[in-house]
């Protein structure tokens, strides 16, 4: 299992790539087979090919895109608010011990609450319109950004602070030219995780109170007992989430490579 990893072991690598490609295909083939011969009920678990068909028809009719674009706008707005707030509060908590002392207790209590549990409260406070969805997404993306920003600032290398001290660099310059740049890799990680979290929150928000969006499409398909649409939507959400994460990871790595000649993206 944990064999010694030797460099340039192409054979091992190649085998792993083949497994990585073949196993999911095998699963799909089995799924297709099981569903067609009636091993599993097609009304509960539709066959992959039928899900693809549903996907194509929804794509053609524009129904999928219409709902997705609504979700995208909500995510964009909510994420923007959540990320900005996360970075700002993160800076304040990371830089000022008094702010940290004041907010730490509140953060520790609120943070473990799943976003979906907040949906009823947000609806109570903000109604069922656009704003309540944006708020839920903002909350969802806020936490990873906040925590990573705080972490980035608090883990600034003390050796660099010592350098600043011996060269009599003032506090303002130390903060903005050393502490902030030190925290950037962690902040980027937070922004990436926040985006994933925002995308997960939109579905939660739309499943409860909405008449548009990808989450609504799932709710609707449940009400009409349309398993194909249900599965199709879930898979689309997964694939989009994957692309968002991969895309942002790349962006992060590119940025760090470009500015520091090294990228250690976690």
């Amino acid at each position: 299992m944990f064999d010694l990893q030797k460099k340039n072991n192409l054979k091992q690598k190649r085998i792993r790539i083949i497994i990585a490609i073949c196993f999911p295909i095998l699963v799909l083939l089995f799924w297709q087979y099981a569903s067609t011969v009636g091993l599993i009920k097609a009304s509960l678990v539709p066959a992959p090919l039928n899900i693809v068909k549903t996907f194509l028809s929804h794509l053609e009719s524009g129904k999928l895109w219409k709902n997705l674009s609504v979700s995208f706008v909500r995510v964009a707005c909510g994420y923007f608010i959540g990320a900005v707030a996360g970075v700002l509060v993160g800076f304040l908590m990371g830089l000022f011990k008094s702010v940290n002392a004041a907010l730490n207790g509140i953060v520790s209590v609120l943070r473990p609450i799943p976003t979906i549990a907040l949906v009823p409260i947000v609806i109570l406070l903000a109604g069922i319109g656009f704003s309540s969805k944006v708020i839920i997404i903002a909350i969802g993306s806020f936490w990873p950004v906040l925590l990573n920003t705080i972490h980035g600032i608090q883990t600034v290398d003390n050796k660099l602070i010592e350098v600043a001290y011996t060269y009599r660099i003032n506090k303002l310059k130390t903060t903005f030219k050393i502490i902030v740049p030190s925290a950037i890799p962690a902040i980027l990680t937070g922004l990436r995780l926040g985006m994933s979290s925002a995308w997960m929150s939109v579905v939660a928000a739309e499943m409860i109170a909405s008449s548009t969006g990808i989450g609504y499409l799932i709710t609707l398909s449940r009400e009409t007992a349309n398993a194909r649409v249900m599965y199709m939507c879930v898979l689309v959400i997964g694939v989009i989430g994957l692309f968002i994460d991969k895309g942002l990871t790349r962006l992060e790595r590119y940025y760090l490579m470009k500015t520091r000649g090294i990228a250690d993206v976690k």
Partner: protein
Amino acid sequence: MVETNNILDIRNLHKDFYIKGQRREVLAGVDLTVKQGEIVAIVGASGCGKSTLLKLITTLEDITSGEILLDGDPVNGPSPKCSMIFQEARLFPWLSVKQNIEFVIPDSVPKAEKEKMVEHYVELVGLSEFMNAVPNQLSGGMQQRVSIARALATRPQLLLLDEPFGALDAFTRMNMQQELLRIWKEDNTTMVIVTHDIDEAIFLSNRVVVMGKNPGVVRSIVPVNLPFPRDRTDSAFLEIRGNIMREFLDS
């Protein structure tokens, strides 16, 4: 005040650390003077307080008792008269070589002059081609050169080096030692270098301060009256080496 050409004057310096409430005496009455233009090496086993001594001069640590005079004035906060080079280059990874050096030059210096200074010191350490490289693109030895250029760019009268080549491989280290001597000749900055490498101490310095530990004291000061550049296989070199070695073995 008595006029002297002592850049550094350390008098009866004591430093205690408290570890879990237990007092530990790290330095117990250290006296040392360093003259203008000198290179003084401090050698000692780990834990003898030689690095702490440099930290006290830069006020990274506070004195328990005693006095440190820098160019005649007692130290009181980090002084522009002295720069410190650490074992690690401690460069800012998001800044280029040029920006790293510019960073420590006071903002009161006009931009054109700043640029000239940076160019001068980058050239002095032989890295002109790498002005715009970031630290991660440089080797360990090159990074330490940038750190030396950065330290010199603030025009200190005293350069403190805390095991500056300790993290480098043997060949790079020898090369850097020669470089340091060349820079010293060109720039004529007084240097205090802490090392655990006796050869390095003899190769570089006018005087070798041998420290003993528990608590840290100056055991002896060995003058090295050999012309530069020194030959590590020369009999006079080896004799001094033997004397210093004996200091350690005797304890």
